[in-house]
Assembly symmetry: D2
């Protein structure tokens, strides 16, 4: 490519934002020309993030559509929930392409958003306009669009682990149980007792049981794939580690398929999609095996005794679950190869 | 009590063994008179475990029934699987009372043991004789017996979390799915790549899916309680922490019971049993909240959308899941209060 | 003892406070009759600390001298710095005996306090009255007094590691360099970016270099022991773990003493003091080897090449570095054996 | 560059080896054409390292000079100590350029090697031939040579932190004390009780005090820079984390220089060297701020009270302390820009 695309990052002082900065720093087609922060505008980004010393020496910009448009063509929104819904209209109007990581535009129903997020939803037209950027399933749909909604971290691991089986009818969607686990970075950089080191270290806990806002997102997509409403049981747990999500999923097998059949089905479904790796029968991925990378690794165990399959899916929540997948969507939006700038080897150990 | 009971510990250089030493050091009715090790006999136990410096200055004894009998009345076996089955006959014959923590005597069926443990089973008469020491369920059964089989760590958390609901018919046993997570100390002190620090830290992984030897143990007891065979889905995961087990359990609710109904049911069932704490509706226990103690804490979430209940049960795998429960069994065996010497406050943070 | 001493804990919702609750729960001579909190008075203590469920069912009291005196004879102050200085006068006046863990009464000089703590110092008469409770050095001095100032966590590990050598002239006090490391619980339960899980996990950092408020405390005591002013270099680091302090200390050896000579010197100095364990030559203690206990373990390495000794001293910051030592002081204050209720085996692993 | 340089990695199943694979995968001038292992030859490398699934599908080669020469022009040796000394002669003879990460060729004196490493040293001619690859100090010296000895992890952090001050006479070399801390990956992938998860997690310990084999390496270089023999006190500690080294260094300041003077001195010394970042006065680097990157960050605190400076230097032990610095040396050896393929943003959090 001859010239680079200029991008801005709103919410660049959060973990999703700095991960975008990390990944885009080595992307051959992109220049990050503006990093913004409503709380720290005017100060150097490296002050709050010393790992960026001498890498980014610029000051944080204010969150202002016109200012951003003067510097960039595409903008990532990496704020907490409830902010993007307010920013998107002016950003689009200013002529920017928008990739929203925050979750505000994922649910097509305003009511559902308000029920689960306990916040005012975005206007319906933006919910309608936003294309859900789960590249391995809906990849082509994002080409050329102006507004992409990036999937949530848990939905990414979960949906990539379930969709081929649901679509092929290998499992009964009404029996799906999802036991998810996440590293603590998923909670962001805002301090709270729930992310206080001494409370989390050497501790394992469940939270938001049957109440997590990713439940309707998962069900919306599964219902779309299944062609009928799907209701799931979904539990989230906090793991004493920084990065990584594992989704352990259970469902009743329909049709007597073996683990090997699942491996074959998934390999076919994800053929050509570099970021999904299906593990061979009898092995299952661990979160560290995708750490720092855009991979989603999946493994299976069908148990003949119970007639159920256990599906294990892992991602790095900040990469495939946030910044990496957002860049993958940018690549597709721009008509580039989806792997551009994302071919990292996982960091191990 | 006037005089102390003398006890010996076989396998005292493993984590279960040193935890027995820690807990028994402050038990008012017990004196640990012999710590044995087949691999390190003759050397001071504090050499391999410097935290015992000046606390235990004795040398490790050989594993010899006559020697042990000359020093003790009761013996704990805290070896890896496959050893107790060989030791128990001579220990009983020597006149010792035996509490086996190793798992060799938990399954009543030799075939089942050999299938899941991949080792030669103990002789049937010892399997028949051994009383399963899940105190809150079968407590009275261990009074006065000579041979107790201490439950496994995962079965302890899981069974205490499921039995009242299965017994009362609140859940359909055929729908039980158990997603279990354990700290790394459960794997013992033997070194391996699977317990190598750099492989486990910042990592979360599943293992032995549908193959764990605790599956038949759980099913044996659930079947006993349900009055019919029960088959379950059971997955184990390794958490990057040292101590703690959480069992997250799912089942279909029969009869429209709410979370509060479960709370009431369990509080009634465990009435008077100090080591089970039922959390109030809407809160769930974390592993750190029982760390270092003999508690098993349990919480519930019934989801009306799916008709399923999620049950969370936590223990310290080395205490309630091993050494603490073994001492609780000793207490009952001796006719003492089951809490004697075990009333520790959990260590937090 | 026939009747128990009633004690109150001010600041019982901090980590030092809950550790006092944990340790005192099994102390044979003490009853905790009041737990207070200025921020959460009126609510059950177990609400903020679910590990205390069914163990302490009382509500938090307000911080009120008369109320406390109506319930207790002795009070522990476990607040952040800057509060005890205000509370102590009324507590003493109400007739309570006071053990202050907060640090407000450790420095004899108001100027020094204000320089290093950046807060208003207590009135001079209380600084004069408070006896510094480093039991192994000044133990007898606290017998029968009304006001004890409990040493800081770093000073405890550091002073116990240095005093015998300074006193005996084995090292040159002007060459002392102290490189200290602490687990994160030392920073308390108040949330901040510096104790946010994702910032601390997999991270090791130095802080407050040459600025830590424990520097003048260490120098005050070393100067007292040396008989002349001592100035030291002291660096603190944060270790990604919850509990534990290690002080690694360096000094030039005077007189050609070997590691074995240091071992002998320290064993003699601490003869009869159960909580200091001197490791044999060639071995050094690790923090986990004292975790959960009141021990301070010390080891040495004299290097003939450089003429310097390296001294390693470890404690559990919440026990020997705070709550445990405070109870040890209570024991001495009451004329009891200093080990009463404190004879825990360290928790390992 | 038109064509890529083919490189082989001996010891590619160790942590240093897989880190080379990770970093070289995105290096624009290099192709890794052979990964070898004496213990696992013939099996796919991704079998032991599932994070490489679909990234490297080749089988491990035997360690054979002729075979390697048929595939590569340059070879990295990333074995444990004591192996490179035997391999180097045949590799050089086969016409390969060699970069040794193992430490066998760092000490110029065979006696010193044998004293500290307790192994047979390499022949003197290879010790003489090997150029010590500390790029920021001796960078130009490695251009075009055939045999480079890559510095050790602790020496890298320590020497970069000390050399400008020693060279400029700002500190007295005879007063240098080095308190070093390392993550556990530095101990390699070989299992042992010392790297067993439950022994290391929530633990902090010192090891090899005054005995570490990196002592003579540090002293050799410091002596070279100072122009006279230097003897140092050096202590190593194990931090419960996977990656990262911090060297906290102490020395007496000569000439009344302030922290700001040190900052200026170091900024001048490292002018143009992208991988050393000098922190501004009053701030110090943490290990996570360089994690996954080739940076070495350095900060200072001069204490007027003691006349000493505290210098903090951090690196990622597997990158700047091993594989990254080895690639930096390859770049220089090839006449490329030293940053080629190494411009990673640190991974944070």
């Amino acid at each position: 490519m001859n010239s680079k695309v200029n991008v801005a990052i709103i919410g660049s002082t959060g973990y999703g934002g700095v991960e975008l900065i990390r990944l885009l720093a080595s992307h051959p087609g992109v220049e990050v020309t503006s990093v913004t922060s409503s709380s720290a505008a005017g100060s150097p980004i490296a002050e709050g993030y010393p790992h960026l010393t001498e890498i980014r020496t610029d000051l944080l910009d204010d969150v202002d559509a016109a200012l951003i448009k003067s510097k960039a063509d595409v903008v990532f929104i990496a704020t907490p929930a409830g902010i993007a819904s307010k920013l998107v209209p002016s950003l689009l109007e200013a002529g920017l392409k928008v990739i929203d990581i925050s979750g505000d535009l994922r649910l097509k129903s305003r009511e559902l958003y308000q029920t689960w997020y306990k916040k005012e939803a975005a206007e319906q037209q933006y919910l309608d306009q936003a294309v859900y950027g789960l590249a391995e399933v809906y990849g082509e749909a994002v080409r050329g669009v102006d507004l992409i909604s990036n999937p949530g971290c848990f939905p990414t691991a979960t949906l990539l682990g379930l969709i081929p089986a649901v679509k092929a009818g290998y499992i009964d969607p009404s029996t799906i149980i999802i036991d998810a686990k996440s590293g603590v970075s998923g909670a962001g950089r805002g301090t709270s007792l729930g992310t206080h080191y001494a409370e989390i270290n050497e501790n394992f806990k469940a939270y938001k049981i049957n109440k997590h806002q990713h439940i309707p997102e998962i069900e919306q997509v599964l219902g779309d794939v299944a062609g009928k409403p799907v209701v799931t049981t979904f539990t989230t747990h906090l793991v004493p580690m920084t990065r990584g999500i594992m989704s352990t999923m259970y469902a009743s097998v329909q049709g007597g398929y073996s683990s090997e059949d699942f491996v074959s089905l998934y390999r076919n479904y994800y053929e050509g999609r570099r970021f999904v790796r299906i593990r061979k029968d009898g092995t299952w991925p661990a979160t560290k095996e995708v750490s720092g990378s855009n991979y989603c690794d999946i493994g299976f165990s069908v148990d003949e005794r119970t007639g159920r399959v256990t599906i294990i899916s892992v991602i790095d929540n900040l990469v495939k679950g946030a910044a990496g997948q957002a860049i993958q969507n940018l690549n597709l939006m721009m008509g580039w190869d989806e792997t551009l700038g994302l071919q990292f080897v996982p960091i191990y150990p």
